[in-house]
C-alpha cells in the first residue's frame, strides 16, 4: 500500500494539527490504534511535503511502523518501505529527489543535505528504526554506516572508537538519543530502542563470530549482550550461547556455569539443559549427564505453561531482531523421543544395562503411543536408523540376561528386512558409476543409495541372527545357536571398502567365532577349527579368532601347531591389538556386546599351558614350517 496516493478525506486534519493520535494514543491496545495510525499517516502524506509538518509526519511514521511490528509479533523481514517513503518526503520538502537511490544512499543524502533543526530529532528516531530493520536482516555494515552518519552529523570526531572495541557497538553507544518532544509522543521511546539495538547488535555479532570460529570475540560480545537490555528469555538464550562458546573453547566448567545461569534465568530454556548434558558427556561425568538428560526428558514431558514475561512489553524486542539459522540450531529443541533414546544409548555405553533396558523399552513403547510422540528421522536428529535401535535394544536385553526378549526383538528386525533383501546383490568396486547392470531399477534416489540401503538391510538382518545366536547360546540351546550363527554366513562378500560392507564382514567374523565356540562346547573341534580359520581369513590377526584357533588346535591335540600359532600371534605387535580396539569402537553400538562376548576368556590359562608345553618339549621355533600354517591347515581339512 502506498499511503501517499491517498487524498485527504473530509476528516483530514490540516497541516500542523497534532491530530487525535498526538494526545490520546499510547502504546496499549496496539492493533486497535494501528489502523488509525495508518489512516493518519495516509492523511498527512496525501498533502505535499512541507517542512513544518514533517516532524509530525515522521513521528506518525515511526509510531505506525512500531505498531506494525508489534501487531505482527513476528520477526522483522524485508525492507522497511515506509522509512524509505518518509525519507523521500523529507527530500521532497527540501526540493530534492532520490527515487533511484538505495536506502543507504538515501540516508546519506538526507542526513548530509537536510540541516533543518526541527527535523533532526524525528530523523534520528527514524534512523533507530531503520537500524532495527537492518539488524534483523543482519546488515551490520549498513547499520554501522547509518550510525556513523548520525553521530557525525551531531559531533564529528567523537565517534572514533577505541582500539579493539567493536565499532558498531561503540557507535551505537556514542549515539545521542534526541530528546522526545512533548507534543509528539512516541509509543516506544528512542532510549529504549537504543538499548535494544545495542543488545541485538552484540548478540548478532556474537553469533556471527561463533559461526566463524572466533570464540574469544564471540564470548566478549555475548557478555556484552548479556549485560544489555532484554527479556529473560533472550537472556537465557544469550547464556546458552555463552555456554556453547565456552564449550567450543575447551572450557567445560565455564560452559557449565553459563548454562546453569541460563536455566536460572529461564528454566524453560531447555536447550541449555541438553547442552549441559553434552558438556557432562565430554567431562565424563556420567551421573551428571544422565541426570541432566532425565531432567530434560521430564521437562519436555510436562507442558509447562508459558511463563508470563515479567519484563515490560515493548513493541520492538530483541527476539524480533535476532533470528539466524545458527541460533535456531543452537536452540534446537530435542524431542522427548530423542532424549529418551539418548538416555538409553548412554546407559548402554556406560554399561548400566538395567537402566538401558528400561529406557530402550520405554523408547520402543513410544512408537505405540500414536502420532503425539514424534520420532524425528531427519539428519539433525540424535536417532540412528530404527532397525539399529531395535538391535541396540536386543543387545541391552541380552546383556541384562533377558535372552528370550532379545530373540523376539531381533525377530522383528529380521522379519522386517527379509522381504526387502535381494537374493543377490552385486556390489561393484566402483559404486560411483551409476550404470550398474544390476536389475534393481532405481525407483527413488537412484541406484547407489538403493544398493547401500540393501547392504544395510543385509547387515541388520545378519546382526539380528548374530544376537539370536548368542542369546540361544546363553540359553544353552547350542543347536539353535548354531543355526542362527550359520544364517549370518550365507552371504559371501568380496573385499570392499564401503563401511556397510565392513560392518557385514565384522558380523561374519563374530558369527564364525560364535559358531566355533558352540562347536568347541559340543566337542566338534574340527568344525570349530574351520570356523576360526575362516574367521582369520576374513580378519587376519583378529586376537579372539586367533586365540580360539590356538585353543581348538590344542584341544585337537595338535599342540605343536597350536604353539606355533600362539607364538606368532603373541609376537605380533601390540599396536595392532590397539588398532583392533580402535576399530571396534567405530563399529555400531549394537555390535559392542557381541564383540565383548567373542573375546577369548581363558587367554591366560591357555598361555600358561602352551608355555608349559613349550618348556617341556624344548621345541625349536626355527624348525617349524615358517610360513602359512593356516594354508597347511586348510589343506589338511
Amino acid at each position: 500500500h502506498c499511503p501517499s496516493r491517498c487524498r485527504p478525506g473530509p476528516e483530514a486534519c490540516g497541516p500542523g494539527s497534532t491530530g487525535p493520535w498526538g494526545t490520546s494514543v499510547y502504546w496499549a491496545a496496539a492493533p486497535v490504534y494501528r489502523s488509525q495510525f495508518l489512516v493518519g499517516l495516509a492523511v498527512v502524506t496525501g498533502l505535499p511535503a512541507a517542512l513544518p509538518t514533517l516532524p509530525l509526519e515522521l513521528t506518525v511514521l515511526y509510531n505506525s511502523l512500531l505498531f506494525t511490528v508489534g501487531a505482527s509479533d513476528s520477526v522483522i523481514e524485508g525492507e522497511a518501505e515506509g522509512i524509505r517513503q518518509g525519507l523521500l518526503r523529507v527530500l521532497e520538502a527540501c526540493g530534492a529527489g532520490g527515487q533511484d537511490l538505495s536506502t543507504e544512499e538515501l540516508w546519506q543524502k538526507v542526513l548530509q543535505d537536510v540541516t533543518a533543526g526541527e527535523l533532526q530529532a524525528p530523523l534520528h528516531q527514524l534512523g533507530a528504526l531503520q537500524a532495527a530493520w537492518w539488524l534483523a536482516a543482519s546488515r551490520l555494515g549498513s547499520t554501522a554506516g547509518l550510525f556513523r552518519l548520525l553521530s557525525h552529523a551531531e559531533d564529528p570526531g567523537r565517534a572514533c572508537c577505541r582500539e579493539g572495541e567493536n565499532e558498531l557497538l561503540s557507535l551505537l553507544k556514542a549515539w545521542q538519543v534526541p530528546a522526545e518532544e512533548a507534543s509528539l509522543p512516541l509509543v516506544q521511546s528512542t532510549e529504549d530502542l537504543k538499548e535494544i539495538l545495542c543488545t541485538a547488535a552484540a548478540f548478532l555479532q556474537g553469533l556471527q563470530e561463533l559461526e566463524a570460529g572466533n570464540f574469544a570475540t564471540a564470548l566478549s560480545l555475548f557478555q556484552e549482550a548479556a549485560g544489555g537490555f532484554c527479556s529473560k528469555r533472550v537472556l537465557a538464550q544469550i547464556y546458552t550461547c555463552l555456554g556453547c562458546c565456552a564449550q567450543q573453547m575447551g572450557k567445560p566448567q565455564t560452559a557449565l556455569q553459563h548454562l546453569k545461569r541460563a536455566l536460572q534465568v529461564d528454566f524453560q530454556c531447555l536447550p541449555a539443559l541438553s547442552h549441559a548434558a553434552e558438556v557432562y558427556h565430554e567431562l565424563g561425568e556420567t551421573n551428571a549427564e544422565l541426570e541432566a538428560l532425565a531432567l530434560l526428558y521430564e521437562a519436555l514431558g510436562k507442558k509447562l505453561p508459558a511463563a508470563a514475561s515479567s519484563s515490560p512489553y515493548f513493541l520492538i524486542r530483541t527476539e524480533l531482531l535476532v533470528d539466524t539459522p545458527i541460533l535456531a540450531s543452537l536452540l534446537r529443541h530435542r524431542h522427548p523421543s530423542e532424549v529418551k533414546y539418548l538416555l538409553a544409548q548412554r546407559c548402554l555405553q556406560y554399561g548400566r544395562v538395567a537402566d538401558a533396558v528400561e529406557h530402550y523399552l520405554d523408547f520402543l513403547a513410544l512408537f505405540q503411543e500414536g502420532l503425539q510422540q514424534q520420532v524425528p528421522l531427519d539428519d539433525s536428529s540424535a536417532l540412528p536408523r530404527i532397525p539399529e535401535v531395535f538391535l541396540e535394544t536386543a543387545s541391552a536385553l541380552e546383556q541384562a540376561g533377558r535372552h528370550q526378549d532379545a530373540i523376539t526383538v531381533c525377530e522383528e528386525v529380521i522379519s522386517r528386512t527379509t522381504d526387502l533383501i535381494p537374493r543377490m546383490l552385486q556390489v561393484e568396486e566402483r559404486l560411483e558409476q551409476p550404470e550398474c547392470p544390476s536389475s534393481g531399477a532405481g525407483l527413488v534416489g537412484g541406484l547407489l543409495p538403493q544398493k547401500k540401503e540393501s547392504l544395510r538391510y543385509l547387515a541388520w538382518r545378519a546382526a539380528g541372527y548374530l544376537h539370536q545366536g548368542w542369546a540361544w547360546a546363553k540359553l544353552g540351546e547350542s543347536k539353535e545357536a548354531i543355526t542362527q550363527f550359520s544364517r549370518c554366513m550365507c552371504l559371501s562378500v568380496a573385499e570392499n571398502l564401503l563401511p556397510e560392507v565392513e560392518v557385514i564382514q565384522k558380523i561374519r567374523l563374530l558369527s564364525l567365532i560364535g559358531r566355533g565356540m558352540q562347536f568347541l562346547d559340543l566337542g566338534r573341534h574340527k568344525e570349530a577349527l574351520l570356523d576360526f580359520l575362516h574367521g582369520l581369513q576374513i580378519s587376519p590377526g583378529d586376537p579372539a579368532a586367533a586365540s580360539y584357533l590356538v585353543q581348538a588346535l590344542w584341544k585337537l591335540n595338535r599342540k605343536q601347531e597350536a604353539a606355533a600359532h600362539w607364538q606368532k600371534f603373541s609376537q605380533s605387535p601390540p599396536g595392532e591389538d590397539g588398532q583392533q580396539e580402535g576399530q571396534g569402537r567405530s563399529f555400531p553400538l549394537y555390535l559392542v556386546s557381541c564383540l565383548k562376548q567373542a573375546m577369548f576368556p581363558h587367554s591366560e590359562s591357555l598361555a600358561r599351558s602352551i608355555q608349559d608345553y613349550l618348556a617341556t618339549t624344548s621345541w625349536d621355533p626355527s624348525s617349524k614350517p615358517s610360513q602359512s600354517p593356516c594354508t597347511g591347515l586348510a589343506q589338511g581339512l
Binding site: D378, S380, F390
Partner: protein, 883 residues
Amino acid sequence: MAQVGHRVDYLAGFCCPVGGLVAGKPRVLCHENEIYLSNGSEFVYVYDQEGKVLKAVYRCPDQVWHVELLPQPRQLYILCAHSGIYCVSLDQQSRLMEQTDGDGQESNCPSSVFPVDSDACIFPDSSLCMFTLLNNFVITLSQAHGKWWMKLHELPHPEQESPPYRQVSEVGFCPGPQPGDEEDSPPSRFLPVLCCASSPGTVGSGEGLWCSGGFVLEEPLFSLLFGIDAAMLESPMILCGFPDGQLCSVPLKALSSSTAVDGCHDVSNPDPPVKILHHLEEPIVFIGALRTERRAAEDAEDEQLFGDTGCDCVVAVGHYGKMVAVKADQREEATVPELREYYLRGPILCAACSSSSRMYYSTHSDISAVDLDWVGDSSDPEDAESCTGVLPPVLSPASLSICSVVALSLSSRASEGESELLALSAKGRLMTCGLCSPEDTDVGLTPAEAGRRIKELLSGIGNTSERVSFLKKAVDQKNRALASLNQVMNVSAALLSSQEGQKPIACTVTANWSCLLLQDTVTISCLLENCSEYSLEEGWTLCVQLLASPCALEEESVDSATTFTFPIDQLLPGNKRELTLPLGSAADTKLDLPLTISCALYYSLRDILGSGSDSSEALDDLLPDDSPILSPDREGICLPLSECTIDMLQCLRFESSPPGPDASPPAAAPPAPPDPVETFLKVSQEQTEPEGVKASELPHTSGEGNPPPSAASIRVSSELLKNALKTSGSDVSLSCATLRWLLAENAGAEALSSREVASVRGAAPDGGEVQLLVREVAMNDLSPAGPIQAVEILMESPSLADMCRMHHAVIRRIQVRSERAPGSGPPDLRMQYLRQIQANHEMLLKEAQTLRDRPPLGEEGDATAEKLLHVYRQLRNPSLVLL
C-alpha cells in the same frame, strides 16, 4: 474386457452454476446411510440415502474446497476457500432439527439452511489448501513463504477439556522448483491431493481407523515405498499429490519439527522426512490403492480372522490422463517396487478405487473402469511369459456410459456384497451406480424385480438423454469451430495468394479534420473494402497500428506504436466499412507527424471455441491433450493489409474560404488573433513544448512577442514539374498545379481545385499556422544557356516544428515524384557555380555537425543554439534547384 454391468439410480439434484460443476472441489462422501455432498459452492448437503430426503444443508462463509467426515463423534470438517477449516457437529445439528420439527410437520426438504459461522472455524488460515483426517488428527497442507507446510494437529478428545487443536508437529518442504510461485494465491483450479497410507500393523488400523480415502498397504510394498524406518515406527504415511505432478510421501510420526523458540523454522534444514516418490508432470487429481492379487483360499480365511491385510498397489492419476501404478515385484531375485505409467484418455475429472483391483475414473464423456489385476486376468500363458512385470502392460478401460461426473466415491454399503458407486454429475445430479460383477447373470424376474428393472431402464433413459445432450452440444461446437476455421482459411488464402496485385480485401487510410466533442481533431478514417468472394465473419478484428516513424524529428525517439482494434461483426463481399479514429485534438496531444499506419486483419483462434467458453475446460474438451499450439500467447492469425504514411500535408486544415491569390506573405501581416487568451495559450504552448527540437537548439525568444516565422524553400525546375505533373495541356498555371498536387491527398483542399491559387494558409493539427507559397522564379546564374525556369515552394510557420514537418512532407513528395518522372536530360549547367553552392552547403553541414557534437554550456550554449539554428535555416533555403 468384459463390459461392466451397472445400474444407475438418480437420487437427487443439487443446484449447479450455469456452466455446470467444475471438477476438483465437488465431493461426495458416504457413511452408513448418509451422503455428504459439496458441489463446489458454499453449501454442504447431508442426504439420507435410506429415506431419500435431504436432511440438512449447511451454508459456509465461502466456497467449499474439501469436506471430511469424522464418524465418531459425528463431525463434518469443511475447508472453505481462503478462510480455513470449519467443524460442524452433526449430532448437535440433528438434535436441533428434531426440536424445530417438533410440530410433526413432515416435509421432504430440510427445515432450514444452517449457517456455519466463524465460531466453527477451528483453523483460521487463509493459506490452507487441503486437509485430511486420521482418527483424531487433522493433517493440513498450506502454502506460505514459497513452501508447502504440512501440519499435524490433534483434535480434542470429547471428554477432555484439553486445549483444542494442539499442533503436534509440522514440516515445511518444497517439492520441485516451485510450489506455485507464478501465482500468489494458491492454485485455484487444482488443489493438492492428500491421502493416508498405513502399514498393516498400525495401532488401531483394524477398528478405529478412519480416514476417508485412506488405505492400508501391505508389506513389503510399504517398506519399499516409504523405507524401513517408517515401517518399523509403524508410522502412517501421508501421500501428497501436487498440482505440478509430484507425488510425495511424509511419515506422520516423523514430521520434523525442528521448531526452535519463537516458532522460527530452521530453513537450513532441508526436508529429510519428505520423499518424492514420482513425478507425474501433470496435476494429480487422485491417489488410491488397489488389491490386485486375489488371495488364496487359506489366506482368505486369514483375512476373515485378521481383517483386511491391505492393498498391494498404489495408483496416482493425473488430470491429463497419465497414471502411475506401483506394486512390489517379488518374482525376481530382488524385491523391487515396480512402477508403471499408463496413459488414459483425459482429462480425468475424478476417480475412485474399488476394494478390489478396479479403478474408476471419470472424464467429461464417460466413467471408465480399469482393472489392474493382470496375473489373474491373463489366461494365456504366453502372455504371462512375455511380460516382464507384475502390472499389466496396457489397460483396457470399460465404459460405464455415465458422462461428466465431477465427483466419485465408493459407497460404504458396498461391503454388503454389492459395490455401489456414488457420483455427482456436472449438472448437479447425485446418482448411484450399482456395479454387479461381470459373472452375475440375470435369472427369472419376480414382479418386484421387474418393477425395479423398469425403474432402472427409466433412469437409464434419463442418463442416456443427458449424455446425448452433452455429446450433441460438443458436436455442435466442433462443427461451428470447423466452419469458422474454414472461412478463416479462405480469407487467408485469398489475401496471401494475391501478394503482388490488388489485394481483394483492402484498407484505405485518409486523414480528415472533424469536430469531435466540440474540438477540431485530425481523424484517420480507414475504409475497409471487401472485394473478395468471402465474407468476413465475426471473430475478425481490424488492427490499426499507428507508428511515429523513426525519421521523425527526435533522433532518439523510440518507436512508439499504438494499436487500435475494431471487431468486425460481418463484412459481406462487396461491402465497405469505414472506421474513424482520432489522432488527437489540437489542444492536448502532440502529434508526431509523419505517422506510419499499418492495417492488419486478425483472427483469434480462441474465439473458434465460441464466445461463451473462455475457460480452458472447453479447450480440454476439444483437444484432449494440452496442446502447446494453443497457449494463450500465440493464438491467432494475423494478415497484414496495407501500410501508409500520414504527413503534414494531409493534415493541414484550411479556413472555410481559401485565401485569395493576392494574399500577402504572412510574415509581414500575421492574422489578428481572435482571442487574447488563445494567443496566450498558444504562445505558452510554444514556449513549453520544444516540439521535438532539442531544447538547447531553441532560441530563447520567450516574452519578446511573436518570433520570426521559420521558413524553408525548395526549388524545382519547371521542366521537371511540368513533365511530372503533366500539366502542359491544362490551362492552370504551374504554381497552382503544383499546389494542387501537393495538397491532393488533403480532403479539405478541394476548394483549391476551383480557383487559381498559388498560396495557402492552414492550420497544423496542433493549431500552429502554416503558410505554403508556390511561385515561379527564374534562375539566372545556373546555366550558361540562360535563365532556368523553376518553381519555388516556400514554407513558413511561426512554429519551427510545424515548418520542419511541412518541409519533410514536401520533400518526400518531390522525391517520390522525381523518381517516377522520366528524365529528359538535364540542361547545360554552369558547373563552377554548382560546385560553389555545394561547397557552401558542405561547410554549413560541417559547422552544424561540430556545433552539435559539442554540448553547449551555459551562456555559450545559448549562442551555440542560436548559431545552429541559423545554420539550419540557411540549409533549408538552398539556392539549388531540382532539375
